[in-house]
């Protein structure tokens, strides 16, 4: 259940769409390192789940807008909390990692090298 809701790309897309509707390539640029295919897939799933609404404008060149539905917005709240936490604490987390690794390399050296 947290699987569905909390997968790698979906959360990032939701965070970006929270601010405003976006077009495809616009979205692509906003979401860090997502490939074109994964964005397509992710959006399709989000649409299927009723979290995102797809609006096609038959101009030339074609233009497609993606926006959060009300349902999507309700999800964006807790997701945003998570994102905020991540932003605020990710450096702490990496520091912890470094200290942990430093300790363990020391121990490994005792046995290995």
């Amino acid at each position: 259940m947290l699987n569905r809701v909390g997968d790698k790309w979906s959360m990032q897309v939701i965070v970006v769409l929270r601010d405003q509707p976006r077009r495809f390539n616009d979205l692509r640029r906003q979401v860090n390192g997502i490939s074109q295919q994964m964005l397509t897939r992710t959006l399709k799933v989000l649409e299927r789940d009723g979290l995102v609404e797809r609006t096609v404008r038959t101009t030339s060149p074609p233009q497609v807008d993606y926006a959060l539905t009300p349902f999507g917005h309700s999800l964006s709240e807790p997701v945003r909390e998570l994102a905020i936490w991540a932003l605020a604490n990710l450096d702490t987390l990496y520091d912890n990692r470094l200290r942990y690794d430093a300790n363990n390399e020391a121990n490994d050296d005792t046995n290995q090298a």
Copy 2:
């Protein structure tokens, strides 16, 4: 960044540990369908990141307790929000899915079968 924090098993482990410290196999039973290996891996990463603390009691049979650190508890808040949303809205989400699929199968049939 949401990657690290929001992966499949970590979030579930954090949710479970939020209530109380747990022993290995206890944890294994609480976290839905996790394998022994994935629990081991997940816990190691969480410990490395300073989110979970591992306490070994050298009894026989050995006993190991896992508990959230204060850092881990701070993360557990937003994660909990997400879990609550999921619990409350997952059926809606699946309903959306069914309706979406119903529509598209109809369209596909028009072209395919």
